[in-house]
């Protein structure tokens, strides 16, 4: 979606954002609802400033991100062997397929109450939700990616005497990478939803979802809105910088085309 830079577009975007903010402000100031429920912009701004200044925001965001990344790492460690086996060996595909298709349609958050019973409230339950949410996009992308590696490359490498290890490192892995990166992107999106939901329901000690949940107890809409803004900013930053950079560094540099749009 690259577009030529245009000042008109920027101005229009600014107008759009301003209109939304102005409507909110008018609504908040109108006195239709108490300001605790619809806080005006300046109080949301003050809350954002306070949360940034005393470090609550950073602390909780780091806790949430740590859960996302530990969960993604576990998912990745599980998904790569499963996906590769499924793509390379026909029997493995038949063995894993029924389990995957039974678990795939279950929303990860449906498991939260059960995880809480089994593992107590807190980190383990939240982490499991992240793993569950991100596992399926990863398995499917590794599986599809490895399957779509040009068989000609595999045969050529084999003929040239590549053993399984070299074949995997030099042919299959780079060949499957466009899909795997798309899968990671999808998995991050799912994990991000899962972690906020998990934090809302399983209440670990720290986390952005936990802030929102606590703020709900005190009817503090200002803190909720400030945290939502933070969640939005982090989401955009990851999408824009981390994943696009990852794509540039690997896929494009190795001359593979980008995978399908997610």
């Amino acid at each position: 979606m690259t577009k030529r830079f245009s000042w008109v577009a920027v101005a229009r975007g600014a107008v759009g954002a301003l209109v939304v903010l102005a409507v909110w402000q008018a609504f908040a100031r109108s006195g239709m609802f108490s300001t605790a429920m619809t806080p005006p912009l300046e109080s949301v701004g003050r809350v954002i400033w306070r949360m940034l200044a005393d470090g609550t925001f950073v602390e909780n965001a780091l806790a949430t991100l740590a859960r996302v990344f530990i969960g993604l790492a576990i998912s990745f460690a599980l998904a790569v062997p499963i996906g590769v086996l499924m793509a390379r060996y026909w029997a493995a595909e038949r063995i894993f397929q029924p389990v995957l298709s039974a678990l795939l349609p279950i929303p990860s958050l449906a498991w939260v109450p059960l995880f809480i019973l089994w593992f107590g409230i807190g980190n383990v339950a939240t982490l499991l939700v992240v793993v569950y949410a991100s596992l399926f996009p990863l398995v499917y992308s590794v599986w599809t990616g490895v399957r779509t590696v040009n068989p000609l490359w595999v045969r050529a490498a084999t003929v040239m005497g590549a053993d399984e290890g070299v074949l995997f490192r030099k042919v299959i892995w780079p060949g499957a990478l466009p899909y795997i990166i798309t899968g990671l992107r999808l998995a991050f999106g799912r994990a991000w939803i899962g972690v906020i939901g998990g934090e809302l329901l399983a209440s670990p000690k720290l986390g952005l979802g936990e802030i929102i949940f606590n703020a709900a107890e005190f009817l503090d809409a200002g803190v909720m809105l400030a945290t939502l803004v933070g969640i939005g900013v982090i989401g955009v930053l990851f999408e824009r910088f981390v994943f696009q950079a990852l794509e540039r560094l690997t896929v494009r540099r190795w001359g593979m085309v980008a995978g399908p749009a997610a």
């Binding site: 894993f96 449906a110 059960l114 019973l117 991000w192 809302l200 979802g209 989401g235 955009v236």
Partner: protein, 256 residues
């Protein structure tokens, strides 16, 4: 041989998983309240089906899903098409949409409770709003991807705005819109189950799981999760494949 194996292997996996669960339940040393055997889960399923609790919950959840998704479709398709057809709408709305898009819908839940109270209305609103973004983005991309040659030829041949939309823009962008609807429905489904846990609605599958937690009814929770899985598959396989057949395939936009 291969053909026989392709039937036997999946069945074997199911049998192994079931047996492992049963062994864990019987000899794993966990309290049977927390890890119920398959028989107990089956009994819970039969009991809940017989007394109508499961049916009532399913109907309530599907009603919310339908209402929320309908809202999402209206918002998503209308805004997506407007953004695709008119540059100023795109310029004005795209920054807001792309900022709100990555915020998990569930994060709004406590705020919606604060604004709209508990129950059906905030649940439906939240599901609708949260799943509309995928539909907006995909519809917008679809309308943008309509070949300019088609638009120009239709214009030259004297198509009015309405015909242009009905005959060209809509069919041509439909594959994308359908992807958006499909992703949107899946998202609405996932959010709905979780929102039902937070919004303390009257009935519903998410509520059933959450309520069962209070009484340590693990068998009820697992039986409900199984129903959720089955419904998820049905929604995807039956509803969407059908809609696709009636529109895309029939209009010749994609191969059957």
């Amino acid at each position: 041989m291969r053909r026989a194996l392709s039937i036997v292997l999946p069945l074997a996996t199911c049998a192994v998983v079931a047996a492992a669960w049963e062994l864990l339940a019987l000899y794993g040393g966990f309290p049977p309240k927390l890890v119920p055997g398959l028989g107990t889960i089956g009994q819970a399923f039969v009991r809940l089906s017989a007394n109508g609790v499961l049916l009532a919950a399913t109907v309530a959840t599907l009603y919310r899903l339908a209402a929320g998704f309908a809202l999402a479709v209206v918002i998503g398709v209308v805004l997506g098409i407007a953004m695709g057809r008119r540059q100023w709408v795109e310029d004005t709305c795209l920054p807001i949409v792309s900022f709100l898009y990555p915020i998990p819908g569930l994060a709004y839940a406590p705020l919606f409770v604060l604004w709209f109270g508990l129950g059906d209305v905030p649940t439906i609103l939240l599901v609708g709003v949260a799943s509309s973004f995928t539909i907006i983005i995909n519809t917008w991309r679809g309308v943008k991807s309509v070949k300019p040659v088609w638009l120009r030829s239709a214009e030259v041949m004297g198509a009015r705005d309405r015909d242009m939309f009905r005959r060209i823009v809509l069919p041509a962008s439909l594959p994308y819109i359908m992807i958006g609807l499909r992703l949107g429905l899946a998202q609405a489904w996932r959010i709905l189950i979780a929102v039902e846990m937070l919004m303390s609605v009257q009935r519903g599958l998410g509520w059933l799981i959450f309520g069962a937690q209070t009484f340590l009814n693990t068998d009820v929770m697992l039986a409900t999760i199984a129903v959720i899985a089955a419904l998820g598959v049905l929604l995807e396989r039956q509803v969407f494949t059908r809609i696709e057949r009636y529109t895309l395939v029939r209009w010749g936009m994609v191969a059957a």
